[in-house]
């Protein structure tokens, strides 16, 4: 391309080309301007949308607080006076948030948590357990709703008589009764397990001789301070829905202990208070080491 003269066809053509190109940049600038104007318009519309959402949210909050206060005061006063459709919708939305919050609160305090699965064909329930203000294990049940309610899957330990409980209560009409009984069993099991754990942790001078997975029997060896004799203490938890034993038995050297007011008091203590607390009391009173 080099070496061409300043005049000539090719150089004329290239000059024309440059002119044409400079003419194109002007329309380009114009289209750029319209582009930016369109973008600005869009952002303005978005801002209006967001403002409207914020307004609605504020109204919703106001309605929520008035609804919550109304529930507390038990008064039925009208709060809003806008056109009926909007206020109706707003009221429904506020009620929806209220119910969601209620469900969440129920979940936090340890109530049953139920959700639908598989497009309404299944129901999954979670049963939390707690003892002495401490949350322990959570157990789950997955139930097939159709044709009759039956349990599909669960993580409940095998020594809880689940099939017996299902037979005893009708899942179709009164599932609440079934859940309540099951929850009783599970909470009692967690409670007894927790008591056993605390006995092992807090009372190193007491030796746990026998226990089982269901925590329905507990045999401990305690030592009497003065004579240093070992007493075998058996607690039977025959009622599996309770955290306290139904029978307490003492043995010394293979023979049952002779009756005495001290040991009677200890027996009633063990029957009425959780075992780890009872042992603390017994140690404090000097009955055992």
């Amino acid at each position: 391309m080099q070496g061409a003269s300043a005049t000539g066809v090719l150089s004329h053509l290239s000059r024309l080309e440059v002119q044409a190109r400079s003419r194109k940049t002007e329309p380009q600038q114009r289209s750029r301007v319209t582009e930016l104007k369109a973008a600005a318009e869009q952002l303005r519309m978005r801002r209006e949308q967001l403002r409207a959402e914020v307004e609605t949210h504020k109204n919703l909050q106001k309605l929520r607080t008035s609804m919550d206060k109304r529930r507390e005061d038990e008064e039925g006063e009208e709060g809003m006076d806008e056109d009926s459709e909007d206020s109706e919708l707003l009221r429904l939305m506020a009620r929806h948030t209220q119910l969601n919050d209620l469900l969440y609160a129920h979940h936090i305090i340890g109530g049953y948590d139920a959700i639908k699965t598989r497009q309404g064909q299944g129901l999954c329930l979670s049963l939390p357990t707690a003892y002495d203000g401490v949350f322990l294990e959570t157990y789950n049940l997955e139930i097939d709703v159709k044709p009759t309610p039956r349990i599909a899957r669960h993580n409940i330990p095998p020594f809880i008589p689940l099939s017996d409980l299902v037979e005893q209560s009708d899942m179709k009409t009164d599932i609440r009764a079934f859940l309540d009984t099951l929850s009783q069993h599970l909470n009692a099991l967690s409670g007894r397990k927790q008591q056993l754990k605390l006995v092992k942790e807090l009372h190193k001078s007491v030796e746990v001789m026998e226990s089982n997975a269901l925590c329905s029997i507990l045999v401990m060896m305690v030592t009497v301070p003065k004579e240093k004799t070992a007493i075998l203490c058996t607690l039977d938890y025959t009622d599996h829905t309770r955290c306290l034993p139904t029978r307490v038995h003492f043995e010394c050297n293979g023979k049952p202990l002779a009756d005495s007011p001290d040991w009677d008091k200890t027996r009633s203590l063990l029957l009425e208070t959780p075992v780890h607390k009872a042992l603390s009391t017994m140690r404090r009173m000097g009955n055992i080491v």
Partner: protein, 345 residues
């Protein structure tokens, strides 16, 4: 100590790996401190065995003590050989209150009546498991300690785990177990594996199961470790769904280690391109076996990575759900495998 006892001890020491000898002997607890001092754990096994044999002669120990040592070793290292699970059925009313000493007495007396002579040793382990070692004899010979059967049971649960049991001994053991645990029957649970802990955890549901919840699931929260915020996963949502379904079917975290799953098919052959096979009257018998070092982990990974379609087919999800790894599939649905295996009682 007679020859057979001596040979038994030699074989036992050969079986125990060198690094576990010290701990096993300590747990056995029969050696005095002085005797323990005199043992040299670094010398070769044959020399060590000679020294131990001398100590046994000194103390006058018999079969009873040596089998105790074997039991201590097996309790700490149960993953040798295949374990089979059995399930006790139809508990009587007082099955829930069977307590340890009662069970021990009853089992020993029932088994001795059924299989005289027999040598039974029972031990309660720290985790509430009762271990039973049975050496069987017959009318011609003393109990054979070389091939003992080990049984593990947790009271108040319906499961019993057994290893090294012959088909002749099975009915005797079943009868003794049923009577001493106050149940009416015992059946094969169709679950077997090399690791006792794994099959026990599977049946007692001691692994982390996942259930759908309406509140943020721990799975979603844990997967939030984003390596590079500039990288966006195209199909993150479907991957998350697959992971959720895989975990719901198999569980989360460490899964019990099963080694295999066997499906025995007795279904009619169905393939339109193969007329000769499809026209046959009898079902097409075929056995499909999945094997892996950790079968459930592999299956979960298949489901979460998309190799196996989700929702997980019930053929695979039945393994953890029903707690079995032997299935018989007939045309009208999976049938109970107790149809082909003999159930006693």
């Amino acid at each position: 100590m007679d020859d057979s006892t001596r040979r038994f001890l030699q074989r036992l020491i050969r079986r125990i790996p060198a690094q576990m000898l010290k701990t096993t002997l300590d747990k056995w607890g029969r050696l005095t401190a002085a005797q323990k001092q005199s043992m040299d754990f670094t010398e070769p096994k044959w020399a060590f065995t000679e020294r131990l044999l001398d100590i046994c002669e000194e103390n006058g120990w018999t079969w009873k003590h040596i089998t105790e040592l074997e039991m201590t070793y097996v309790i700490d290292n149960p993953n040798q050989g295949m374990w089979y699970a059995f399930q006790l059925m139809d508990p009587e009313d007082d099955a829930h209150s069977v307590e340890l000493t009662h069970f021990k007495e009853q089992f020993k007396s029932h088994l001795s009546e059924l299989a005289r002579p027999v040598s039974v040793k029972m031990k309660k382990h720290a985790d509430e498991a009762i271990w039973i070692r049975i050496a069987w004899g017959d009318s011609f010979s003393r109990p054979n300690h070389q091939k003992p059967t080990y049984v593990v049971h947790h009271l108040q649960t319906p499961y019993v785990f057994v290893t090294s049991l012959t088909s002749k001994q099975k009915p005797l053991l079943s009868q003794a177990l049923v009577l001493s645990t106050r149940h009416q029957a015992i059946k094969d649970a169709s679950l077997s594996g090399r690791k006792l802990g794994a099959i026990r955890d599977l049946l007692m549901r001691q692994y982390q199961q996942v259930f759908p919840t309406s509140y943020p699931s721990p799975l979603a929260e844990r997967n939030e470790t984003v390596s590079n915020p500039q990288i966006e996963k195209e199909q993150a949502k479907s991957a998350e769904n697959r992971l959720q379904m895989a975990c719901e079917a198999f569980g989360d975290g460490m899964l019990p280690q099963l080694q295999s799953s066997v499906y025995k098919l007795e279904t009619k052959f169905k393939d339109h391109t193969n007329k000769t096979m499809t026209e046959r009257e009898e079902p097409f018998r075929c056995v499909v076996k999945f094997a892996s070092t950790n079968l459930l982990e592999s299956l979960r990974h298949c489901a979460s990575s998309g190799i196996a379609s989700t929702p997980v087919t019930p053929l695979l999800s039945s393994i953890p759900l029903k707690g079995r790894n032997y299935f018989i599939i007939k045309d009208n649905g999976p049938g109970p495998s107790s149809q082909t295996r003999q159930t006693q009682n």
